[in-house]
């Protein structure tokens, strides 16, 4: 009898639960999420808000090694509604026909590093021509490498490329079986351990950083705009918390539950002339859009995806803009926001 009328009360329309997937690590036997997701959890605000509407909150911890595919498949299977992950896999899913979109940014992005083995006299990527270079193919930072190579007029074929997963790459570097590894911030840790020397990083070219953000299933956002807004607001609140200089130590402690100790994170986060809060800006700004334009073009041209993704269908800044308004945080982060939907 209840199902006769199309349910008009909002409560009846609401899903039983919201599921958010995010890259996570295991810390002392329990999953700890990467970046802001863990802050959202710790703040407890989102869970409380959802509970008020009778909606449960599920977190899906995803290990780094299989993060992209697992999240993409989860989106396709409608098992997850939101995910915090990287530009490249999200774009691949979108191109593959999974309707998702970026609804917040997670700051300026992640650094990539080029580390060479001990005893190798190389000062720049050009010096590595003809040498062996390890990278894990298909992972987001491959784009960064491509841009670096492009800028120097080099090609992948100028090197002896080894497709190694990060663990193996570090071992190979330490053992001197490869000359260089192109990877994320763990490079700093490897350098500390004496496995090699970092000769280049995106700190010199911040625009090439890999970008991450919060992505949402479009179907979900259109059916449940209020819930989506709540989730986005939670992330904005988390970003706001993390942006406070007095929370810096606390944030780094949270982050250090991942792969890198605080000492490494300090250096990775050491900002090149910017402010601490730039790291967490949720704003979808011109830089973010431009980055995705780039990624979209590169992946299509290199036949990594079959269909080119139109960025305007892929990025939806309305929630984040509204959230910043609602929370009275306009002007807290300095980038110029994109106004209105990307068209």
């Amino acid at each position: 009898a209840c199902g006769e009328k199309p349910a008009s009360t909002p409560a009846a329309k609401l899903p039983a639960a919201v599921t958010i997937a995010a890259i996570s690590y295991t810390y002392q036997g329990k999953p700890t999420f990467n970046g802001l997701s863990q802050v959202v959890i710790n703040q407890g605000w989102l869970e409380g808000e959802l509970k008020k509407n009778g909606v449960a909150l599920n977190w899906l911890p995803v290990p780094t090694s299989v993060g992209g595919p697992l999240i993409n498949e989860g989106f396709a299977a409608k098992r997850i509604d939101f995910a915090g992950y990287g530009d490249f896999p999200a774009l691949i899913a979108k191109s593959g026909g999974v309707d998702i979109r970026a609804i917040t940014s997670s700051g300026q992005g992640n650094n990539a590093y080029l580390i060479v083995r001990k005893g190798l006299e190389a000062k720049s990527i050009e010096d590595l021509k003809g040498k062996s270079l390890a990278i894990h193919r298909g992972r987001p930072w491959e784009l960064t490498l491509a841009k670096l190579l492009d800028s120097k007029g080099l090609k992948l074929s100028d090197f002896k490329i080894y497709n190694l997963n990060p663990q193996a790459a570090y071992s190979a570097l330490a053992a001197g079986k490869v000359d260089a590894v192109f990877t994320l911030s763990e490079a700093i840790l490897q350098e500390d351990k004496g496995a090699g020397t970092i000769i280049w990083s995106t700190k010199s070219n911040p625009e090439w950083k890999m970008r991450t953000g919060l992505f949402a299933r479009t179907e979900f956002t259109t059916q449940n705009p209020e819930l989506t807004q709540t989730v986005v607001n939670a992330y904005i609140k988390a970003a706001h918390w993390a942006s406070q200089p007095e929370n810096r130590a606390a944030f780094l402690e949270l982050a250090s539950r991942g792969n890198n100790p605080t000492s490494v994170l300090e250096r990775d986060y050491a900002n090149e002339g910017g402010d601490w809060n730039d790291h967490f800006s949720p704003i979808i700004d011109q830089g973010f859009v431009a980055h995705f334009d780039d990624v979209s073009k590169y992946t299509f041209e290199n036949k990594l995806v079959q269909k080119e993704v139109a960025t305007r269908n892929f990025i939806d800044p309305t929630f984040v803009n509204k959230g910043i308004d609602e929370l009275g945080l306009k002007g807290f982060w300095k980038e110029t926001p994109v106004t209105g939907p990307v068209q």
């Binding site: 295991t26 036997g29 290990p63 663990q167 071992s171 763990e186 351990k193 496995a195």
Partner: protein, 262 residues
């Protein structure tokens, strides 16, 4: 007097011989670790390992991860092994089932888990259930194979006796085919044991992260914390050995009727 010495001899700890290879290995290991340089990154000193062990025990991290992995491995073994035995029995006893199931079984068996991941994720999510399914699958394959082979090997001359005494299907199975196949079934169980352990560790890397030795090891590797990796290996190896030992005991008891070389 003589009897006493004899008894002592009987209790001579020959099993201590089994400690020789691991001890030699550890000595070599420590030696390599002491060399420093690139070696230091692949080998960590035993002192560091014991320190890590103490730390991990103290923080409760090891207990949590270990408990979680052990639980997964054992339930996978139980479920996969149980279903595997049933399927193996069905295939071994019924020709039509064999014809129908064997091609599917034999080709599915050869498909790397990697290929199934999208589907398993789709159907069962990427949580503990999916992990359990993969672990159970790894126990399923060997048990099916060995149960089936065990039943196929039952001698016709013994089945003749069952016919003479008009045993019905169930009686024939329970009194003749099952005991005759048991040695083989146990071999399958021993195989399954190793596979469940290995896939327990592996599967923790494929689906959602959480407590488990596999996750712990993976992360430790990225952190270049080989001492943690080694502590995990130690626990995986020793536990595997212990479970193996228990099943061996059980099999020796159950198969005591065999006249085999001591």
């Amino acid at each position: 007097m003589t009897l006493k010495t004899l008894n002592l001899n009987a209790f001579k700890p020959v099993w201590l011989l089994g400690l020789i290879p691991p001890v030699l290995f550890l000595l070599w290991w420590d030696h390599e670790a002491a060399k420093g340089g690139a070696n230091a990154l692949a080998f960590v000193s035993l002192a560091q390992v014991s320190q890590a062990l103490a730390d991990m025990l103290a923080s409760g991290e090891l207990g949590l991860s270990y408990g979680s992995s052990l639980g997964r491995a054992l339930s996978g073994l139980l479920i996969g092994g149980g279903i595997g035995t049933l399927v193996g029995i069905a295939m071994g006893l019924s020709k039509p089932v064999e014809w129908a199931a064997s091609p599917i079984y034999n080709s599915f068996r050869q498909v790397p888990i990697l290929g199934w991941l999208p589907l398993i994720g789709l159907w069962f999510g990427s949580g503990d259930l999916s992990k359990l399914i993969i672990v159970a699958l790894s126990a399923f394959y060997p048990t099916v194979l060995y149960t089936f082979e065990g039943l196929k090997q039952v001698e016709a001359r013994l089945l003749d006796v069952g016919q003479i005494y008009r045993l019905n299907g169930w009686q024939t199975f329970w009194r003749i085919q099952w005991p005759a196949a048991l040695p083989s079934i146990f071999t399958g169980l021993f195989q399954a044991l190793a596979f469940t352990w290995i896939s327990t560790i592996g599967v923790e890397l494929l689906f959602s992260s959480g407590a488990g030795l596999g996750a712990l090891m993976q992360q430790a590797q990225l952190q270049a914390r080989l001492d943690i990796v080694l502590v995990c290996i130690l626990f995986v190896g020793l536990t595997g050995f212990a479970i193996n030992f228990l099943i061996k005991r059980l099999s020796q008891h159950v198969l005591s009727w065999r006249s085999i070389r001591a």
